[in-house]
Symmetry: C2
DNA sequence: CGACGCTTTGAGGTTACTCAACCAGGGTGG
DNA sequence: CCACCCTGGTTGAGTAACCTCAAAGCGTCG
């Protein structure tokens, strides 16, 4: 449950100086002044997670909020019979713990090696109360998340398997671009099963659809990613 | 586009005195003091919409935010080829225009006769800047919306048609309860097509599944609604 | 080398979709 | 008053997209 405490490497402290944080500009912290960053830095606890390590589980009491600084996190909900829906992948700069209730609404675990800043909820709440512009920024993030969620609902409810995959790949490319990692080769650190559970498909359908897209020369499948060979055609499919 | 201006009845003013607003306690306005309510009242413009009238469309410049005081609104996204996904139904007390960008992220139109308070965006933004606790309340609403959206993603991606309907009916019952309208007979002012577009199904599947539930004596279909005859069984299906 | 985890491929089945007809209620107009 | 239509809902038959089950590749690691 609190394995993140165990995972918190002592030596990680230096890397997470808020002033030099790579993820800062893409995160909520971008709204803070240098002196505010110093107070933030004092309460930030750098944590690291191994691939597949649990950050938190749904229903768990929320004692911390997290700011991802490196790696990818999957956020998901589960049904008692094992069906899983991934509601989002968190990338560097993303903020976890928005729900503001005293317990997490989703579960989260690391897809690959993840680094994050953990803020104790009490100190964090005090800071938010004192800094309206931070709250404002947080609210902007929340509404952005909501917009993404609505887009995902459209995808889950009304799109075909091929459209789902194409939208997913283009979406991931855009999201990597936002954290300064634009490339025609989209990194996909998550498994096929993760992709399936994000798109409301089975692993077999994901695999088949990707190979079909590869046969069409729309994409090229590479280790841990996909190279987009025909972005125009993909954009057309995504728009339709 | 701005038909809401046309629809704004002159006589509606009296009904929307913020101090006597029926929807207030369930809305963002619950966080305001009496004197703040008076300043709010001064900037609120009461508007009414006929069934099927448009409140706003996706991409339109957002000049107002809305607080629903009566009736039901559907919020949806469309694909160019006509496929529609309803991302939510707004009930009295719900707040529309959270997105905070200068344009709406979804379209909205009235399901039945709707009354709302419209706040000009500029005055509204000023008020939010001046009242951090209002922003806080707004943020709580946004995160609550996000939680609902994530639950809906689970439903859209991983549930069967029957589960979708059962969850929908139980969810509507709960939501009506929150605005003080709890009843074992759930009002469904929206059409079967609306329900289908909300649950990621076709109208035929919705109709068939509802009649099957009625044959099972799980529900009883009544005009403009459904009576829940076996809530325990429904809760079991929804949990599974 | 063999075991394991993950992915891909194949064959067959099922759920939900498509297309089409039918039904019921509520106007409307002859 | 009743035929007519129009909208929204239900029902039926056939289909297709996607799922399920099963087996075979294919790197990685002990």
């Amino acid at each position: 449950m609190d394995c993140h405490l165990v995972n918190a490497g002592i030596g990680a402290r230096a890397e997470c100086g808020c002033l030099t944080c790579e993820a800062r500009l893409a995160s909520v912290c971008a709204s803070l002044s240098p002196e505010e960053l110093i107070t933030l830095d004092a309460m930030a606890r750098p944590v690291r997670f191994e691939p597949k390590a649990t950050l938190f589980v749904q229903g768990q009491h929320a004692d911390c909020v997290y700011n991802i600084t490196a790696g990818v996190v999957r956020l998901y909900k589960m049904l008692p019979d094992g069906r899983r829906q991934i509601v989002g992948f968190a990338l560097p700069g993303d903020f976890l713990g928005l729900s503001m209730h005293d317990s997490f609404g989703v579960s989260a675990d690391a897809v690959d090696a993840v680094a994050a800043c953990a803020f104790p909820l009490t100190a964090y709440a005090r800071l938010v109360d004192a800094k309206p512009h931070l709250l404002r920024r947080l609210h902007e993030f929340a509404t952005h998340e909501l917009t993404l969620a609505q887009e995902q609902m459209l995808l889950l409810g009304r799109r075909t398997a091929e459209e789902k995959l194409v939208c997913f790949l283009l979406g991931m490319q855009q999201r990597w671009a936002k954290v300064g990692k634009f490339s025609v080769t989209v990194p996909l650190p998550m498994s096929r099963q993760d992709i399936a559970d994000f798109l409301g498909l089975t692993i077999e359908t994901v695999s088949r659809t990707l190979t079909r897209l590869a046969k069409d020369k729309t994409i090229l499948i590479v280790p841990d990613g996909v190279r987009l060979m025909n972005v125009d055609h993909m954009a057309l499919v995504a728009a339709a």
